[in-house]
């Protein structure tokens, strides 16, 4: 049976097992209909021109995993940022694992989507924010809404500061031959509040996994959101990540995406600037090899005047890997005095590697400064020669140059442990140890 039909037919069973809130029930049914109409996107659609889902949709994914909680902390420790104190939300095969997690309701709410959807205490927040800014351009988001059940619910109240970073980690155990997980996260950051979040999806075995994740982030007046996505999964795991960020006046949101692995990774990242003087940062480092495929699809929609956005994506592609960058800056007629920058730099290391870039500007306001730059090239031979003439071996010299290439994305990372972790992963990726941090 095709995955689409399977999902549609299993929807009824899903609803019967989990119909707790009539509002959500209606939304789910509506979303399923939308998915039924849209289906999975094909290469004929402009936004999916360079990314084919055929091989990803092929396995017979199980939609309802059996609950079998066998993971110990020592198995997953290395996937967590464990050297600092954090709140943890750990999900195993899409199911919350209480003994691996650490939540709180003290001043800030760091808890579960399932309880937020069922408890009346959270109803106002759910009513105000749940599923309000998602786009319906492709079937993935409605599909996630139809099956939305579990995920992270984070609410930082007015004038509060999340005292520790929050980690959201999804593990796939491989208990199923093939598994599809659909996490749903909602993050609401009230006025003057501040939060740091780290998100990761990790498969523990080589059984195929398809993750269709949707995250909604709301930043109120003067809120600061600092979000990191670490994507370094196995070659059998694919991720479709849909993130939507809405910003109010003077808010500051930054999103760093580190893509180092996975069969296919698609990041649909959408920023909507609704308040004046808001600032958005979208940065990413992609280093992949083999037949891996990473697709960054970004949208920054400037709706209000006097805002800024900065995009900086770096990619290093080896062997048969494919990189896609599809960035769009949209400036509305009313959004005057906008500064929008977009940069995309890529290095191809091998003959079979491919990069497809499509940086777009759509501008309807005249008093703006918008620019984009896109380059594709290779490591500079002169620089390599310079380093080698000073006794640095070729491999290390190459690694040094690649470090330097990716460095300005790392500069804006505010959690030192993440910087260290990413440095470590880059070094591992390049197979060298330079013995220093950038």
């Amino acid at each position: 049976m095709e995955l689409k039909d399977k999902l549609i037919s299993s929807f009824l069973a899903f609803e019967e097992a989990f119909d707790l809130n009539s509002d959500i029930h209606e939304l789910r049914t509506r979303s399923l209909k939308e998915f039924e109409q849209l289906g999975f996107p094909s290469k004929k659609e402009e936004a999916w021109k360079y990314t084919s889902l055929n091989s990803v949709l092929k396995p017979d994914y199980s939609v309802f995993p059996k609950k079998e909680d066998t993971i110990e902390y020592r198995d997953i420790k290395k996937y967590l940022i464990h050297d600092i104190d954090t709140y943890n939300l750990v999900f195993i095969d899409g199911i919350y694992s209480s003994h691996l997690s650490q939540t709180t309701h003290d001043k800030i709410d760091v808890c579960l989507m399932s309880s937020a959807l069922s408890k009346s205490k959270y109803k106002p927040v759910i009513d105000n924010y749940f599923n309000k800014i998602v786009s319906k351009e492709n079937g993935f988001t409605p599909l996630n809404t139809a099956f939305s059940k579990e995920g992270a619910f984070i609410h930082i109240h007015k004038n509060q500061l999340a005292d520790k970073p929050i980690q959201i980690v999804n593990f796939a155990t491989g208990n199923e031959a093939a598994l599809m997980i659909q996490p749903r996260n909602l993050i609401v950051v009230d006025e003057n509040a501040h939060v740091q979040i780290i998100e990761r999806h990790q498969s523990l075995t080589n059984n195929p996994v398809l993750t269709n994740s949707v995250t909604e982030i709301y930043a109120a007046k003067r809120a600061i959101v600092d979000y990191y996505k670490i994507q370094n999964d196995r070659d059998t795991a694919s991720l479709i990540d849909n993130t939507f960020v809405e910003q109010q006046e003077q808010s500051n949101c930054s999103m760093h995406t580190f893509s180092f692995g996975g069969k296919l990774t698609r990041n649909n990242l959408n920023f909507y600037q609704r308040g004046e003087h808001s600032d958005s940062t979208l940065k990413g480092i992609t280093i992949i090899e083999d037949k891996q495929h990473v697709d960054h699809n970004t949208l920054v929609h400037h709706i209000s005047p006097n805002c800024e956005s900065h995009q900086d994506y770096k990619g290093i592609f080896a062997e048969n890997s494919t990189g896609v960058f599809n960035g769009k800056v949209l400036v509305d007629k009313e959004a005057q005095k906008i500064n929008a920058f977009q940069a995309n730099n890529n290095i191809l290391l091998d003959d079979k590697a491919t990069i497809n870039a499509k940086p777009q500007l759509e501008i309807f306001a005249d008093d703006v400064k918008c620019s984009h730059g896109c380059t594709i090239g290779q490591l500079d031979q002169d620089s390599l020669f310079y380093l080698r003439s000073r006794g640095i071996p070729l491999k290390e010299a190459k690694a040094l140059l690649m470090y330097a290439f990716a460095n300005n994305v790392l500069e804006s990372v505010k959690i030192p442990e993440i910087k260290k972790r990413i440095n470590h992963e880059i070094a591992q990726k390049l197979g060298v140890s330079l013995g220093f941090d950038l």
């Binding site: 402009e46 918008c370 380059t375």
Partner: protein, 481 residues
């Protein structure tokens, strides 16, 4: 009172099309509609051999099955292809050796355009092949060209007199089934130019064809085929103005350039067809397919100044097939009032050490929409390919839009591709700087717009640069000094 940007905007909006006039020449026009019989009739009218008729019919059959493309960032009322007359030719087909014999009314037309043939003949040394309503009415300098072995004539003449060349190259760069409008053009093209430069010959003068759409209700389907044989050089100019008319006119031309080993082709266009009035009524639909193929060490350079047409949909492209070949694209697109332009280029790198440069300047005013859409494709065998692209947009007023849709596809690690784009308005500080130095605002804007487009204007041949300036004036009067 100081001249401000608002004044300029007002002036731009109210500026009527200066070259809108209509020459009353009796035309031999086909009834409207399109079917196989019409295609046959066109072919017969032009006394074409059978293979050509078959070629047209093949294209027509392919066209029938195709759908009109909708992906471009333009909105317009689709033309009714059955409401167009597909053939129109001036009645008295003159064959003159000197200008004096030319119909005085026709000559007056050219004088109004400011391209007096006498003047051009004497001063510029340009051979002008005047295409008026699709049929070539006068070719000058043919003799000088003939001495060098250069063939420069209308395409219908070429089909009759040089069938071997036409047969060999026609449709090799833009196949009949390439796209909807190319197929339509292949079926019904009425006339156009053919040019062949023999081996090792450097064409001594700029070749130029003046296109004009003259007859109400006739779409122009020009077909240009330009072949530069090994190690030859040619510079070709194409310029257009059209009379003011309320009805939308369709123009679907096809231009094919073939640069064989070591050849160089420079193709310059100035397009100033009727853009519609300030309510967005009328104007020409310009859907053009232009493409060139470069063999080893060859070079093709496209330069265009687009100021007219209600809807423009045009991507002059280069296929860099041979090793060490070079493709260039320089463009200025000015849109005003309700004009829409979706233009850009495609650079397909197939050979080793191929290079391409793209410089695109867009100026939008009024309520117009101006898009750049380009593709740079480096294929896996194109070692050491190099591309540099730059797209700058200038916005005047907040009712217009500027869009950039570049596609970059790279499959070779040795490739170096750079793309940059900026969008801005004329800076207040720039104007202030000029004012400080005693330059009035009007002049300052002129200076800035001029500077903005200079990179492209510089690429035009001398004779054409003057004219391009003139045409920019019509679109942005008061801003170009």
């Amino acid at each position: 009172m100081a001249y401000t940007e608002d004044d300029l905007k007002k002036e731009l909006e109210t500026k009527e099309y200066e070259y809108g006039f209509y020459t009353d020449i009796e035309s031999d026009t086909f009834p409207i509609g399109l079917n196989e019989d019409v295609v046959r009739a066109i072919s017969k009218k032009k006394e074409e051999p059978e293979w050509m008729t078959d070629w047209r019919l093949e294209s027509y059959r392919a066209w029938e099955k195709m759908k009109e493309p909708e992906w471009a960032n333009v909105r317009y009322k689709k033309p009714d292809f059955q409401a167009i007359s597909y053939y129109s030719a001036p009645n008295k087909k003159p064959k003159y050796d000197s200008l004096d014999e030319v119909d005085p009314e026709l000559r007056a037309t050219f004088e109004k355009l400011g391209i007096s043939m006498d003047e051009q003949k004497m001063l510029a040394g340009v051979a002008v092949d005047v295409v008026m309503d699709s049929v070539s009415v006068g070719t000058t300098f043919k003799k000088t060209l003939a001495e060098k072995g250069i063939i420069f004539c209308s395409i219908s003449e070429a089909i009759r007199e040089h069938p071997e060349l036409v047969k060999k190259y026609l449709g090799t760069v833009v196949p009949q089934r390439d796209n909807f409008y190319a197929a339509l053009n292949s079926a019904v093209f009425s006339d156009g130019s053919f040019c062949y430069i023999p081996k090792g010959v450097r064409c001594p003068m700029e070749l130029s064809t003046y296109f004009r759409i003259n007859q109400a209700g006739t779409g122009q389907f020009e077909r240009t085929l330009l072949v530069a044989d090994e190690d030859s050089y040619v510079s070709y100019l194409e310029g257009c103005t059209a009379p003011s008319r309320d009805e939308n006119q369709l123009h679907a031309a096809v231009v094919e350039l073939i640069a064989l080993d070591g050849a160089e082709i420079k193709y310059s266009t100035v397009q100033n067809w009727y853009p519609g009035n300030k309510e967005g009524k009328g104007g020409v639909y310009n859907f053009v397919t232009k493409r060139g193929i470069c063999e080893a060490n060859a070079k093709i350079s496209w330069t265009q100044v687009e100021t007219g047409s209600a809807v423009t949909w045009k991507y002059p492209s280069c296929i860099l097939k041979g090793d060490n070949s070079i493709g260039e694209f320089y463009s200025i697109a000015v849109t005003n009032n309700f004009q829409q332009a979706d233009t850009g280029t495609k650079m397909i790198h197939l050979g080793k050490n191929t290079r391409s440069t793209i410089i695109s300047k867009g100026i939008s005013a009024g309520q117009s929409q101006n898009s750049y859409r380009g593709l740079v494709q480096i294929n896996s065998r194109a070692e050491n390919a190099r591309n540099f692209s730059q797209c700058d947009s200038l916005l005047m007023g907040n009712k217009c839009g500027a869009h950039t849709f570049p596609y970059i596809e790279v499959k070779n690690k040795t490739a170096m591709v750079e793309h940059e784009a900026t969008t801005s308005k004329i800076g207040e500080d720039q104007i202030f700087y000029c004012n400080q130095r005693g330059i009035p605002t009007e002049k300052a804007i002129a200076l800035i717009v001029n500077g903005f487009s200079k990179e492209v204007l510089n690429k035009l041949p001398m004779e054409f640069a003057v004219e391009a300036q003139k045409l920019l004036e019509i679109s942005l009067e008061g801003s170009v000094g």
